[in-house]
Symmetry: C2
Subunit: 334 residues, 2 copies
DNA sequence: TTGTATGCGTTATCAC
DNA sequence: GTGATAACGCATACAA
């Protein structure tokens, strides 16, 4: 049989309450008894039952990570970051994939909380913006943190990077190389980051005194084929761009494919840049110039916020990092 | 306050035990009372507490997925497959990343079981082969299923694809195209699939009457750079291969990169094939010829096995599917 | 600093 | 078919 607190208390010669005190690191336990209890715990290889603790106390030692994202890499980064913090905290992680657009999302979230009584919830984009789900969490008064929310930044604790600034820097980098006709492929409209990245692109052009030309901007869906389609349109223009900046790397891969098909030599004939959303960049040929995103760190920070229950309702980590790789070059002399 | 069974029983005018019976779909409940109870449950939006059920009963309505794999895509497929089955079963999924080589793995697994009392465990490769972890599971007599185990296939229920057959078919395909000098890059030695794939390659050569040449076979580590290194060596040979078959797509991407660097025109000068382990294939240029793997389906089947508690101790799903894309071609006339 | 009595929300046992 | 009552393993309130 699994040992219980009773077994431990018997072996240590104290009451169960005292064992409980030691387990929960409460104060008012003499050094001496603490050591005896810990010895008994180790000897019996005792591990408290989460179920019993949940039922009797107010903690379940579990949190849930709710996500809906099509990029395995993104999810993996998020999970890893959150998990690392959970490990430090001795808390288990419940994986909760979902459809952010589902009409039953709120009910699913409510059910999750009621059944599991998790101590907190982490939402990753784009579930961050499902208002009905947030309502449900708040109704139950359960702590939650959002990663890269697109709306209502003030509504809860959240972490995010500065997408506009990152896009601005990448665009500025391309301008510094001599590019003047810079194509841009927008991300999926359900991600707020898409707008911010476009804004950063425009801001950099403005500052450099380059006119914004709508024809150089194409919509995309964050996937490979929309990147292909956008690239076809851009390269068909009478005076095509000498550089294309895609809002993520799946789309950038689409751009590369089109360039290859057209026999363009990269990066001589065309520079391709992108956000490294899925870590695909280094495996493409040529390797992409990308904005590397600190997704894992953001996720870790989100979990940290959850456990620390910081008072500050809005805690934004503005993090970005520009990584320049080999595939950008000055535009052709022409 | 959250409603409890008591609230439901009061509203339905029955005892708590009867409510419990309905909740657990036990027999011996009259149609009439069942309907009344279900109405009360719906009305109150009642959801039983997992913690209480775990404590009182013998089920926790949670299973754990233990994994250690560096490929986000692989993990994502596994999680998705398992999750889908859990959803049907009304069971929650605990994510448990780990280091399969850690000396404390067994202890971690034991702790997981003791604390959470999960109803079952799913292990994905390569954690499937950590004997100490399996010992721990068996000591606690908890059901578990392994996905693509490398060793001791008879030890537990497991699901896996037929790697040898798949590699055989791909190799045969290349031979049918006219290739005679076919390079092969082996996978990481800690994955049993690596050996099986090599075996399938050899078997196809044998059947076609082509001599096995060790110089055409290079070791790899399932990552991009080991694929690069192997390709360099293969293409440096006096009479280099006209096709290279890599044991996964990360390595195949490395091969492509080397080919591009050397100015080879693909697939005219070189055919490249691989196992589609990370779903990278379609995003490379040119797209790879790959063996597509039914990872998600395997994971779903694993979870199904867990819930069905099939008697058959060894249940191998032999599944594979060969997908031919545009990038293989007959070898150069030379 | 430590111990005792009580209850968390559900299932199990055994009676009716 | 249904219900009373005792667990389950721990934390809480309160007492000592």
């Amino acid at each position: 049989m699994r040992p219980t607190i009773k077994d431990v208390s018997a072996m240590a010669g104290v009451s169960t309450k005292t064992v409980s005190r030691v387990l929960n690191k409460e104060r008012y336990v003499s050094e001496d008894t603490r050591i005896r209890v810990e010895a008994a715990v180790a000897q019996l290889n005792f591990r408290p039952s989460h179920a019993a603790r949940t039922l009797a106390g107010r903690r379940s030692f579990q949190i849930a990570l709710i996500y809906d994202n099509h990029s395995p890499h993104y999810i993996h980064q998020i999970q890893t970051g959150v998990w690392n913090r959970c490990l430090e905290e001795g808390v288990r992680l419940l994986a909760q994939p979902c459809d952010a657009a589902s009409p039953t999302l709120a009910e699913e979230v409510g059910g999750l909380i009621d059944q599991t009584q998790v101590d907190g919830v982490i939402l990753s984009s784009p579930v961050t913006d499902a208002a009905s789900a947030l309502d449900e969490l708040e109704r139950r008064d359960i702590p939650y943190v959002r990663i890269s929310p697109g709306t209502e930044h003030g509504r809860s604790s959240s972490v995010s990077m500065d997408d506009a600034q990152a896009a601005d820097e990448m665009t500025s980098h391309l301008i510094a190389l001599g590019h003047r006709r810079i194509g841009f492929i927008i991300g999926h409209s359900n991600h707020a980051a898409s707008d911010l990245r476009l804004y950063g692109y425009r801001r950099a052009l403005d500052r450099a005194g380059i006119a914004f030309e709508p024809k150089y901007v194409r919509p995309g869906l964050f996937d490979f084929s929309s990147g292909e389609a956008a690239a076809e349109r851009l390269l068909d223009l009478p005076s095509p761009p000498t550089a294309i900046f895609a809002s993520n790397d799946d789309m950038a891969a689409g751009v590369l494919t089109v360039a290859h098909r057209r026999g363009l030599s990269l990066p001589r004939d065309l520079s391709v840049a992108g956000f490294d959303d899925t870590a695909l960049a280094s495996q493409l040929w040529p390797p992409l110039t990308t904005v590397r995103q600190p997704t894992r760190d953001l996720a870790y920070a989100a979990a940290a916020l959850l456990f620390e229950r910081e008072e500050d309702p809005v805690h934004r980590r503005l993090a970005h990092e520009l990584v320049i790789r080999a595939s950008t070059a000055a535009p052709p002399a022409a």
